[in-house]
Symmetry: C2
Subunit: 336 residues, 2 copies
DNA sequence: GATTTTACTGTAATCGATTACATTTAAGAA
DNA sequence: TTCTTAAATGTAATCGATTACAGTAAAATC
């Protein structure tokens, strides 16, 4: 390994001069600069990043905790984080937790041992182990989409899930639907409660029911959509519109509805949530709520970056705009 | 920041003893161990990862270069890498290059400056900047799916793309198709050549043509699939079967074919490549080649891990098995 | 030409943990 | 009890870069 000492010897100067030549060349005479650069090139020298980092105490890295790497929606968020991080010279460590708290604790621990400077949580759980909770008090941490549970409030970049769900509900109600169902996602999350509350509020205003037997699901997956439809279609009365709590669920739902010989949207309208790329290209194209995932990721890093600098935030909660994307998976209730 | 010195003072021992207590407790008396652990807990001490790493010269991290984070196929690979890495105590840094060589150089540089110990390339380009090429000679680097161009041969985990394409071609030929088209991916890659060669070899054996005007595409995206179909359908003679070089392209192609009022597979059969999750749930479900993406990721890390230990490999090329997945997007050529 | 100021470079301390080597303490043998 | 040996602990060097401080040389001022 070529280190700074070797270069300094080669150039016939001190290590300090080598370091200065590379970090603040204006402090060094043109001639010595020349000599040093020559030696650097000759030795093939690259400053050891680890060494610089111990000195500065900063790793210029962050870790992103993802419950599920296969969800394309998370990917867009991560893409935004990555882009913003890269622009500020940070690197992004990937923490695929698979919803396993042990793995979450492990990844979150990185911020306590200076392996990373900050943490972005895409799940809703408090990621630190109970015994680390106290240490984690003032750690730079922000969440995206989900709010982190617990007394301490951490910054969050989110969507107005309540309003977005209301928009979806209004959309379906305006088509004349009266028999609704929902295939929900992970029940422990804030998102679940807000989206359901949004739907419920509109239906209540319209005096429309959403009985318990019209609720299915429990995870954000294609499989949940399939199982959800199977369960719903066993009921004596068939819904004419199904709220799916994300696009993956909706894709599974549409697939299964067609498999039962029913048509979307003529027999059952389906709406999703997230607007993942493929949603526009399935048959029928999916009506959904567009979340600005990429921007949410970018913004999350920017907020985290403020915290990592030790500054404080003016706002602890940022709400980004959604957009209702009307496509062909939803339509008027059929004549029968 | 609580460091080892503070803990040693608190426990009334030397820093060496604290370090030993944590790294090799058997070297320490039960009573001192007790004292030290007490102090560790009281101080909320966590060893500074950066400091340990400078000493050991190892960062226990790797970087994965991804040309395109939004491709779900890459995600599965990354998931496999991540899992294997985590099991061995490594962390995974994400390098979203977007095909931009400047970003690639930057991320690849991490391995030269000890920021990471190894590199996994998911693209086919040699990721180092020209001036770094010499330094990069003996760097631990492996590629997945694609082979890295250049004289120096780096280990690669791949599929027998030639054979897989032949399987797809046989599948379509056996259905009686005679007018073929292909919507290809990135033309500069090895994969492109191998897949095309596989298809061509079968068609030649059957004395079937694949004229230049029946080739479209140029990137691995849904949009390329759409544009490809538009281009192909402008030709005087319509193909009855289209090879799409990945599932994203196929999804776009099917979407566009239907938009033209044609049916899949009755009018045109479509086959993909990769078997991403959603391919099984679109309409019609896609015939494709399943790549064991997750295992490829795992294996890539394992191979890299050998290189990072400084050992040498018995095989420089590993070929994992593919599987032809026959679904409903392909079928017999229609009667007309 | 003498003196002050400025610019450049070198010496050595520092970041925080690890570990070779030295030293002390305890255990075991005679 | 005394001596030998093994175990436990401490001291200080080390990893590689950065930087406060000191020192030297050159430029500017009178």
């Amino acid at each position: 390994m070529t280190n700074i000492k070797k270069v300094s010897e080669l150039a016939g100067v001190s290590t300090a001069t080598v370091s200065r030549t590379l970090k603040s060349p204006e402090q060094v005479t043109a001639t010595t600069r020349e000599k040093v650069m020559q030696a650097v090139k000759q030795a093939g020298y690259r400053p050891n990043w680890l060494a610089s980092s111990v000195k500065s105490g900063k790793s210029n890295s962050i870790v992103v905790l993802v419950p599920n790497l296969t969800n394309p929606f998370f990917l867009r968020i991560i893409g935004g984080i990555e882009q913003a991080a890269q622009e500020k010279g940070y690197s992004v460590l990937l923490g695929d937790t698979q919803g396993d708290s042990k793995r979450e604790h492990e990844y979150a621990g990185m911020v306590l041992s200076n392996r990373v400077d900050g943490l972005i949580q895409l799940d809703h759980s408090f990621p630190f182990a109970p015994q680390d909770a106290e240490l984690a008090e003032n750690v730079p941490m922000v969440s995206v989409c989900e709010r982190i549970v617990g007394e301490r409030k951490y910054p969050v970049i989110e969507l107005d899930n309540y309003a977005a769900s209301r928009a979806l509900a209004h959309h379906l109600v305006s088509y004349g639907h009266r028999r609704f169902a929902a295939i929900v996602g992970q029940i422990s999350s804030q998102i679940y409660r807000e989206r359901l509350a949004g739907i419920r509020s509109v239906l209540q205003e319209e005096n429309l029911p959403l009985p318990d037997e019209m609720l299915a699901g429990g995870s954000y997956s294609i499989e949940a959509g399939i199982a959800g439809v199977q369960q719903l279609l066993k009921q004596p009365i068939r819904p004419t519109a199904i709220f799916c709590f994300n696009d993956d669920i909706a894709i599974g739902a549409i697939h299964e509805i067609k498999k039962h010989g029913l048509r979307v949207p003529q027999d059952i309208s389906v709406v999703g949530f997230d607007n993942i790329k493929v949603s526009a290209f399935i048959d029928p194209p999916l009506t959904t709520v567009d979340q600005p995932a990429y921007d949410m990721g970018r913004r999350a890093f920017e907020v985290l970056s403020v915290l990592m600098r030790g500054e404080s935030l003016t706002r602890i909660r940022e709400i980004l705009p959604f957009q209702l994307v009307e496509r062909q998976s939803s339509g008027p209730v059929s004549a029968d």
